[in-house]
C-alpha cells in the first residue's frame, strides 16, 4: 500500500504523540495505583485504630452499665432476696438502657443465677475464662462465642462489698454492630470466626451476600488474609484482619476493608481526562500535521504533475509556488530546469531535424514528414512523388576548389531548390553530402518529372560562388506513390535508383523503372551477406586470358572474382564490388583474391604451366600498410615467384593519398611483381603521377578500344597512348577486344597484349587449363596467352562517375 507524503507525516506525528501520551498514561496509572494504595492503606490503618477504639468504647459502655448494675443497692438486695424474677427484671432493666443483648448474673461459683432474654443454660467455658480474667483483674471482658453466636462481653463482680456474684453484659456481634462500626470508620467490617480446624464462618458483615461468599472463599483459600490488596468480585480493596481474642478454642477476627474505588477516583478522573486529551491531541496532531504535510506535499505533487507533463513534451506554465522556503526553491529550480530543457530540446531538434549548412530539413525530418504525407495520401487516395537530386561532379568541385566553395555550392543549390518549389506543401531536404530530396504531395510521376526539369533548369544556370563562376548540373530520380512504393524508405530508395540511372545515362532526370528495382534490393541485401561469403568460401576466381600480339612464352591471365551465392547463384561483380569498396570490406576480398590467385599461380607453375596472373588492387588496399608484407608472405607460402604476379591499379586509386599510395606501390614493386595501370584514360589521368608510379604496364580502357575502328578520335587516343607507354618503357594491354578487326588494328598500332570476349570471356581455372590446351588463341598467331586483370563492370562505372569536368 502507498500513502502520500502528507499522510505519512501526519501518521508519524500522531503516532509519536500517541506513544508519549500512552507512556504518560501508563506512568500515571502506576503512580496512581501506588498512591491510591498508599492512601487507602493509611486510611485503613486509621480506620483500624478507630475500630479498636470503638470496640474498647463499647466494652467500657458495657462495663459502666454492668458496674452501675452491680453496685445498685436495690439490685444487691434483690440478689439477697434470691427472687429470681426480680433479679431478671433488674437485669433486663439495666440491659435495656444500653440495648445489651446478653445479661447474666452468675454466682461466685460461676453458675448462672439469672439471665435476661438469653440463657445459655450451662456456663460456657469461655465465660469462665472471662470471669477468671476479671477476678484476677487482667481485663473486664472480651469476645466469646456462645451458642454459636459471637458476643462482646464484660464481666463485672457484684460486690457486697466483697464479690458475691458476677454480672455479665454483652452485645451481639451482628450486622447492626458491623453497620455501626462501618458508619464511624468508613470501612467494610466483617466478623469472621472459626473453631479448631473447621472453616471460616461469617459472624456478621457489612458486605452484601455475593461479596461475603467471596470473602469467605478468599479466607478459606489462603487460611488467612496474606495480601493487603484484596479483590472481591470486581472491586478492589485494601484489607487487614483485626484479630480478636475470643479464647483459645475460637479464632475470631474482624476483616476491615477499604474500597480502592474512592482512593482511585481522582486518578480515574485523571485517566479519563488524559485519555480524552490524548484523543483530542492525536486528532489535532493528525489535522495539523496533515495540513503541514499538505503544504509540503501539495506543491511537490503539483511539481510532480508538471514534471510528468514535461516528460510527455508539454512545456506549459509551471505551477505557481510563491514561497521562499525550500519548496519554493525547488519550484524555482524546476522552472529554470524546464526552461533550459525546453531550450535545449528546441536546439537538439533543430540539430536533429535541420541541416546546419543549408538550413534545410535533414534526412530524418524529411523521412518523418514523408511518412506523414504518405499516410495522408493513403487516406485520401492522392498522389505523392519524391525527387532525389545529386549534384554532378560535386566531389571534383570540392577537391579542386576547396570545401568552402563546396559548401557555398550546396547552399546555392538549396536556395535554388527552395526558389523553384513554390507550393507550400512541397518539402525540400538535404539528405547528406550532395544529395537533396524533394517531396511533392499531390504530384504523380510525370508531374514530378516536369518539376525535376524545372529544377534542372535552375541548376544549370551558372553559379557565382564567391566570385567564381561554376557550372553545375544535377541528376535527379523520381519515384511516385503509389506507383513505386507506399513507404518512405522504398520511395527514397527508388528515387535514388532512378537518380543513379539518370546520372549514368546523363539524362538529368529519370522516373524510377521497376525493372531496376530487383537488382537494387538484391544489391542491398547481398551486401549483408557478402561478409559471410568469404568465410563460406562462396567466392571463386575466374580467369580471362590475354593474348600477345607478338610471340611470347608466358601465358597471361587476369584473375576476376566471382560470387556463387548458394541460393541466388551467380552474382555479377558490379552487384557487390562497389559496395565492398564503400564499406571497406574490399580489403578482405582483395586479400582473398590475392591468396587464391597466388596459390593457383604456384600450382600451375608446379604443373609446368607458367602463367602470369594479374589481379586488381583497390584504392583502399593501396592505403593498407600491411599489404606488401601479406603479399610477400603469400608468395612465399605458395611457392610462387613474384614475377608471375601483376598488380593492377587505377590511376585514381593513387589520388586520395598519393604519398602513402606511392610509397606502398614502391614497396610492392620491390617484391618483384609487376604493376599495371588499369582503365587508363577514364580516370583523372595525371602524367605527373604516372611518371612517379613504378609501373611496367598500362591498360587502355575498353571504351576507347571497342569503337576503335569506327571512331577516329579513339584511334588517335589509343595510338598516342601506346606511343606514350612505349616511350616510357611500359607494355600496353588493350581491353574490350571483341572483333578480329580491332585486334588486327591494335597489332598494327603496336599494342603488346589484347584481352576481350573475342579471345575468351572470364572462365574457371579448369576451363582455362583446357583453353590453354585447345584454343587456337593459345597456340595460334599470337603465340601465347595473356591475362588481363580487371573487375569489368564496376570499375567501368566508377570511372564514369569520376570523369573530369
Amino acid at each position: 500500500m502507498r500513502f502520500s507524503l502528507k499522510w505519512k507525516i501526519a501518521a508519524w506525528c500522531a503516532a509519536l504523540l500517541l506513544v508519549t501520551q500512552i507512556g504518560g498514561l501508563l506512568l500515571f496509572g502506576e503512580i496512581g495505583r501506588g498512591s491510591a494504595m498508599a492512601d487507602a492503606q493509611a486510611d485503613l490503618k486509621t480506620g483500624d485504630r478507630v475500630f479498636a477504639r470503638l470496640l474498647d468504647e463499647r466494652a467500657s459502655q458495657l462495663t459502666q452499665a454492668a458496674r452501675v448494675l452491680a453496685a445498685d443497692y436495690g439490685f444487691r438486695e434483690a440478689l439477697l432476696s434470691q427472687d429470681r424474677e426480680t433479679i431478671e427484671s433488674a437485669l433486663a432493666n439495666h440491659g435495656g438502657r444500653i440495648r445489651a443483648d446478653v445479661m447474666l448474673l452468675l454466682a461466685l461459683d460461676e453458675s448462672i443465677v439469672a439471665s435476661s432474654s438469653f440463657n445459655p443454660g450451662r456456663t460456657p467455658e469461655r465465660l469462665r475464662q472471662l470471669i477468671e480474667g476479671a477476678r484476677s483483674g487482667a481485663h473486664s471482658g472480651g469476645f466469646a462465642v456462645v451458642s454459636g453466636m459471637l458476643y462482646q462481653l464484660v464481666v463485672v463482680p457484684v460486690m457486697a462489698p466483697v464479690p458475691v456474684g458476677w454480672v455479665v453484659m454483652g452485645f451481639s456481634v451482628d450486622k447492626s454492630l458491623a453497620n455501626d462500626l462501618k458508619g464511624v470508620t468508613g470501612l467494610e467490617v466483617s466478623f469472621v470466626r472459626r473453631s479448631g480446624d473447621k472453616g471460616w464462618m461469617l459472624a456478621s458483615s457489612t458486605l452484601n451476600e455475593p461479596l461475603q461468599s467471596a470473602l469467605l472463599g478468599e479466607l478459606s483459600a489462603n487460611g488467612a488474609l496474606q495480601d493487603e490488596a484484596l479483590t472481591l468480585g470486581d472491586r478492589d480493596y485494601v484489607s487487614l484482619m483485626h484479630a480478636i481474642d475470643a479464647g483459645p478454642q475460637q479464632q475470631v477476627g474482624a476483616v476491615l476493608q477499604l474500597s480502592l474505588e474512592r482512593a482511585l477516583a481522582p486518578w480515574n478522573r485523571l485517566y479519563r481526562d488524559w485519555t480524552g486529551l490524548t484523543l483530542i491531541g492525536t486528532l489535532l496532531a493528525l489535522a495539523v500535521s496533515a495540513f503541514m504535510g499538505r503544504s509540503i506535499a501539495s506543491p511537490v505533487v503539483r511539481l510532480a504533475e508538471f514534471a510528468r507533463r514535461v516528460e510527455s513534451g508539454e512545456y506549459g506554465a509551471p505551477p505557481a509556488v510563491a514561497r521562499g522556503d525550500e519548496i519554493g526553491q525547488l519550484a524555482n529550480a524546476f522552472v529554470h530546469m524546464t526552461d533550459a530543457i525546453s531550450l535545449r530540446e528546441t536546439r537538439i531538434s533543430e540539430l536533429a531535424y535541420y541541416d546546419v549548412l543549408t538550413g534545410l530539413p535533414n534526412r530524418a525530418y524529411f523521412t518523418e514528414r514523408l511518412e506523414e504525407s504518405l499516410r495522408t495520401a493513403a487516406a485520401d487516395g492522392s498522389d505523392l512523388a519524391v525527387v532525389c537530386l545529386d549534384v554532378d561532379r560535386f566531389k571534383m568541385v570540392n577537391d579542386t576548389l576547396g570545401h568552402e566553395l563546396g559548401d557555398l555550392l550546396l547552399r546555392e543549390v538549396a536556395r535554388r531548390l527552395r526558389e523553384t518549389l513554390r507550393d507550400v506543401r512541397d518539402q525540400v531536404a538535404r539528405l547528406g553530402g550532395d544529395e537533396f530530396a524533394v517531396m511533392l504531395p499531390g504530384a504523380d510521376a510525370s508531374k514530378a518529372l516536369s518539376v525535376a526539369h524545372r529544377i534542372a533548369e535552375a541548376m544549370n544556370r551558372p553559379m557565382n560562388l564567391d566570385g567564381q563562376m561554376v557550372d553545375v548540373s544535377a541528376s535527379m530520380g523520381v519515384s511516385a506513390c503509389p506507383a513505386h512504393g507506399n513507404d518512405a524508405q522504398s520511395l527514397l530508395r527508388h528515387a535514388d535508383v532512378a537518380m543513379y540511372l539518370a546520372k549514368r545515362h546523363n539524362t538529368m532526370a529519370e522516373i524510377y523503372d521497376p525493372r531496376h528495382h530487383d537488382q537494387n534490393v538484391e544489391r542491398l541485401s547481398l551486401l549483408s551477406e557478402l561478409r559471410l561469403a568469404v568465410e563460406r568460401d562462396e567466392l571463386v576466381l575466374y580467369y580471362q586470358p590475354k593474348v600477345s600480339t607478338a610471340p611470347d612464352a608466358v601465358h597471361h591471365v587476369e584473375a576476376l572474382v566471382r560470387w556463387i551465392h548458394p541460393t541466388r547463384g551467380f552474382v555479377p561483380p558490379f552487384e557487390f564490388i562497389p559496395f565492398a569498396e564503400q564499406t571497406g570490406y574490399i580489403k578482405a576480398i582483395t586479400l582473398w583474391v590475392m591468396n587464391a590467385a597466388i596459390r593457383q599461380c604456384g600450382q600451375w607453375l608446379r604443373q609446368g604451366l607458367e602463367v602470369n596472373v594479374s589481379l586488381n588492387i583497390s584504392a583502399r588496399d593501396l592505403l593498407n600498410p600491411e599489404l606488401p608484407a601479406l603479399f610477400a608472405g603469400m608468395l612465399e607460402c605458395h611457392g610462387c615467384p613474384a614475377r608471375l604476379i601483376t598488380l593492377e591499379i587505377t590511376e585514381s586509386a593513387v589520388l586520395d593519398d598519393p604519398l602513402r599510395a606511392l610509397a606502398n606501390l614502391q614497396v610492392l614493386r620491390e617484391t618483384g611483381c609487376a604493376l599495371s595501370i588499369d582503365d587508363y584514360g577514364t580516370g583523372y589521368s595525371s602524367l605527373s603521377y604516372l611518371r612517379q608510379m613504378p609501373v611496367s604496364e598500362m591498360k587502355i580502357d575498353r571504351s576507347f578500344v571497342m569503337h576503335l575502328l569506327d571512331n577516329p578520335n579513339d584511334e588517335i587516343i589509343v595510338r598516342s597512348t601506346i606511343e606514350l607507354a612505349h616511350n616510357m618503357g611500359l607494355k600496353v594491354t588493350a581491353e574490350g577486344v571483341e572483333s578480329e578487326g580491332v585486334l588486327e588494328r591494335l597489332r598494327l598500332l603496336g599494342c603488346d597484349l589484347a584481352q576481350g570476349y573475342l579471345i575468351s570471356k572470364p572462365i574457371p581455372a579448369e576451363a582455362l587449363e583446357k583453353w590453354f590446351r585447345e584454343s587456337h588463341w593459345a597456340q595460334g598467331a599470337v603465340g601465347s596467352s595473356a591475362a588481363a586483370v580487371m573487375l569489368d563492370e564496376p570499375v567501368g562505372r566508377a570511372a564514369t562517375r569520376t570523369v573530369a569536368v
Binding site: Y73, L80, L108, M159, P161, V162, V164
Partner: protein
C-alpha cells in the same frame, strides 16, 4: 493497724476475764491452746480465724457486747470473731456519714446513713460469716465471724493464735480466712483439750 491491735487486746482481756470466770465454775482444768497457721507452702498466715466449738453445748458463758467502729472510712477491726448472740455497736467516728449493711445470710441488716453512735447495737444471733460494707464507700469492708463458742482467736502476723482458758474437753476446731470467701467451709476438726497444747494447721487459700 495499731488501733485494731489495741482493740483486739482489750477484747482479749475482756475475754480472758470471762474465761477465768467460767473456768472457776467448771470441774475441768482450764488450758491454753496455741494454733500455728500456715499456707500451703508453709508460710505463716495471719488473719486466720480459729474457733473451738465444744461438742457438748452446755455451760457456755453468755455473749458479751462488741464494737466495730468506723474511722477513716475503715471498719475497725476488719475481722472480728464473736459468739452467737453478740450485740455489736457501730460507732461512726468519721465526719462523713456511713451506710453500713450486710447481705450475708447469717445477718442481714443495714444502718442507714448515720453519724455518731446508732441508737441500738446489732445482735448477731446466727452463726456464720457476715460481710459488712458501706453503701456510700465501696471500699469499706469488714468480716464478722459468728461462732457458737466463746473460745476463738485470730492469728497474728507470725501465724500464731492463742486461745486461753479453754476447759479440757472435746472440741471441733473451725478455721476461716477472708481469702476463703466463696470457697467451701474448711471441715471442722475434732480436738481434745487436756492441757496446754499447740496445734499446727494449714489452709488452702485463693491465690
Amino acid at each position: 493497724m495499731p488501733c485494731a491491735v489495741i482493740v483486739f487486746h482489750h477484747f482479749r482481756r475482756v475475754l480472758l476475764v470471762a474465761v477465768v470466770l467460767v473456768g472457776a465454775g467448771l470441774p475441768a482444768q482450764a488450758a491454753t491452746v496455741t494454733i500455728k497457721a500456715g499456707d500451703g507452702s508453709g508460710n505463716a498466715l495471719d488473719s486466720v480465724v480459729v474457733s473451738l466449738v465444744p461438742v457438748s453445748r452446755g455451760g457456755m458463758p453468755a455473749a458479751r457486747p462488741a464494737q466495730i467502729e468506723q474511722r477513716n472510712k475503715t471498719f475497725l477491726p476488719a475481722i472480728s470473731v464473736v459468739q452467737t448472740g453478740t450485740a455489736i455497736e457501730f460507732p461512726n467516728n468519721d465526719t462523713v456519714r456511713h451506710h453500713v449493711y450486710s447481705f450475708s445470710a447469717a445477718k442481714v441488716f443495714e444502718l442507714k446513713l448515720y453519724a455518731g453512735k446508732p441508737e441500738k447495737p446489732v445482735v448477731f444471733d446466727k452463726p456464720g460469716v457476715v460481710v459488712l460494707g458501706c453503701n456510700i464507700h465501696d471500699k469499706m469492708a469488714a468480716y464478722v465471724v459468728v461462732v457458737d463458742t466463746p473460745w476463738s482467736a485470730i492469728s497474728q502476723s507470725d501465724g500464731v493464735a492463742r486461745i486461753a482458758d479453754v476447759p479440757a474437753g472435746d472440741y471441733q476446731l473451725q478455721l476461716w480466712h477472708p481469702r476463703r470467701l466463696g470457697m467451701p467451709d474448711v471441715p471442722p476438726r475434732p480436738l481434745r483439750v487436756a492441757g496446754d497444747q499447740t496445734e499446727v494447721v494449714k489452709l488452702e487459700l485463693r491465690p
